[in-house]
């Protein structure tokens, strides 16, 4: 449906400075009014539809695996940062109900033939480079 244009007087040719200034002021007011109304609506929207803040999961995460190296189950050698990162990753992927029983470092991979290792590195490189990351 075509709607009649704004009630503003059309501007044409070479208007005088003051007329143009008034015209631009109305334009900025139109923009700010549009965005201002949107601001009010979005703020109200947030009141009703906002999802719970991650504080809830953050509070749940320590219950599963309390922060701190000493309380990091089964991994006394881990720094609190690494423990927190693992806990957050588990919480994000498996949900806040997941509980970490223990964290064990993976055994070091036995040394392999450097020639074969180069092949696997190249294979991984090709797989990763085949994805168009955005």
């Amino acid at each position: 449906m075509n709607v009649s244009l704004l009630a503003t007087e059309p501007i044409t040719g070479h208007p005088g400075f003051l007329e143009n200034l008034a015209y631009q002021s109305v334009g900025i007011m139109v923009v700010l009014t549009s965005l201002g109304i949107l601001l009010l609506c979005v703020t109200l929207l947030g009141r009703f539809l906002a999802v719970p803040a991650p504080a809830a999961s953050a509070s749940a995460a320590p219950a599963s695996a309390p922060a701190g190296a000493d309380s990091c189950p089964g991994a006394s050698g881990l720094s609190p940062e690494v423990c927190a990162a693992i806990t957050a990753a588990v919480s994000e992927v498996l949900g806040t109900d997941a509980a970490i029983q223990s964290i064990r470092p993976i055994q070091p991979v036995p040394p392999t033939n450097p020639f074969l290792q180069a092949w696997s590195v190249e294979g991984r490189r090709q797989i990763f480079s085949s994805h168009n990351l955005r």
Partner: protein, 446 residues
């Protein structure tokens, strides 16, 4: 034999080379260098530059119009008709003369063909757009005659907006809606440049098209100038995309000049997560509100939010992928080359072009400053302060302008991460630019 050799030379493109063409080849080389070796907006500058190269070669069958209705571009009285029905004419043949208030306008053939029917007679009074005669030609129009209809009929910019909407996450804006005002403030650059351009003698349609460069939104700039000042389209498109690429050079000095060290160190609180329903309602809300307030922005806002709704609804995965990839990529090629095709030497090598490029940088500078100053102004009232560096992202240029805020923020404090906060004003700038473009379309009379 030698004569045949020289006769053949006349059939080559060399005799058709004009003095503007080599100069434009130089412009093309500069644009290609910036795109390929400096990485300045290569996705757009490469097709634009290549299109400009094709436009400045004596090409055949690329942009020629097909024979068809001969339309009068002006209103007036038919003074003379030089070709009768049944007669053949070449491209450029004088067909008729229309006079209005003592000023004659010559109507020349845009293609080779045969006149079939004359619709007017000498002495008839006609309106602009009236069909003077029908003609027939065996040659179809050139490839880019048809492709460039996408700009003339304003099809490409809204389709680009569909892709932009499908690629844009409005989450940061919804999480901190106050940043909408930063996107609005940046439009002051558009208005100020409009004002400056009219003082320099441009008409209001031209000034609106030049001012919108400050919105740093290429599709909107093309959309508006195609409507209000199509003859300035090449210069405006090149200025808009070049300056968008130069955002990391243009904005930082202005940002540093307008902010204190203390302000640059402000750390903003983490953004709250935004749910799917909130994003969907936001897309509908923006569509309804903006179109109700500025109906002339319907094509841009409508397609932007349609693309965004595709993205957020989660049930149109194939459509999102098409909008994010195939559609936007294909249209970008067509848009870029069509814009480049308009960059003929006769249209581009004018003093107006330099003036437009100069005004473009003013538009960018004022828009950046207005965004930063609006953030400082809002801080007078806000409990949770905004780092004014994110105000500069109110110019659209998604996501370069937001990245500039991030880099400048980290220059002051390496542990301050402003990127996601700056995305709010950045996407608000897209909406703001579309709204002010709609205002100009609605109120400016060409």
């Amino acid at each position: 034999m030698l004569q045949d050799y020289f006769d053949f030379f006349k059939l080559t493109g060399f005799p058709s080379i004009t003095w503007q063409m080599p100069l434009m080849w130089g412009v093309v080389v500069v644009l290609l260098y910036l795109a390929v070796y400096k990485g300045f907006e290569p996705l757009l500058l490469v097709p634009i530059a290549f299109g400009a190269l094709l436009a400045n070669l004596p090409s055949v069958g690329l942009v020629n119009e097909p024979a068809g209705p001969i339309v009068s571009p002006v209103a007036g009285i038919v003074q003379a008709i030089h070709v009768k029905p049944g007669e053949y004419f070449e491209e450029g043949t004088l067909l008729a003369v229309i006079e209005w208030e003592g000023a004659p306008t010559e109507i020349r053939a845009h293609a080779r063909g045969q006149m079939t029917v004359a619709h007017v007679a000498v002495g008839d009074r006609i309106l602009a757009g009236a069909i003077l005669a029908s003609s027939y030609g065996a040659e179809p129009g050139g490839l880019f005659y048809y492709i460039s209809r996408g700009i003339e009929w304003e099809i490409f910019p809204p389709l680009i907006f569909l892709g932009v909407g499908a690629l844009t996450d409005f989450g940061p804006l919804i999480a901190r809606p106050i940043t909408l005002l930063l996107g609005g403030a940046a439009q002051i650059g558009v208005a100020a440049t409009f004002l400056g351009a009219t003082l320099l003698g441009f008409t209001v349609g031209e000034s609106a098209s030049i001012g919108i460069i400050g919105g740093a939104d290429g599709p909107t700039a093309i959309f508006l100038s195609a409507k209000l000042a199509p003859h300035l389209l090449p210069a405006i498109a090149v200025a808009a995309y070049s300056y968008m690429a130069l955002v990391p050079l243009i904005q930082p000095p202005i940002m540093r000049l307008l902010t204190s060290k203390k302000e640059r160190l402000i750390r903003m609180t983490s953004l709250r997560p935004v749910g799917k329903t909130e994003k969907l309602v936001f897309a509908l809300l923006v569509t309804i509100l903006c179109i109700l307030l500025v109906p002339a922005a319907t094509a841009l806002i409508g397609m932007l939010m349609l693309g965004n709704f595709f993205r957020e609804c989660g049930v149109t995965e194939r459509l999102v992928k098409a909008a994010q990839n195939e559609i936007i990529n294909v249209i970008t090629i067509f848009l870029g080359t069509s814009v480049g095709m308009t960059m003929t030497g006769e249209r581009f090598l004018r003093s107006d072009t330099l003036l437009i490029i100069g005004l473009g940088i003013v538009a960018f500078g004022v828009a950046t400053a207005a965004g930063v100053l609006m953030a400082k102004f809002l801080n007078l009232f806000l409990r949770q302060k905004i780092n004014p560096l994110i105000g500069s992202a109110g110019v659209s240029a998604v996501p370069m302008a937001a990245r500039v805020s991030q880099v400048e923020g980290q220059r002051a404090d390496p542990n301050n991460y402003l990127l996601m906060h700056a995305m709010g004003p950045n996407v608000a700038g897209v909406i703001g630019t579309a709204v002010i473009a709609g205002y100009y379309i609605a109120t400016v009379v060409r």
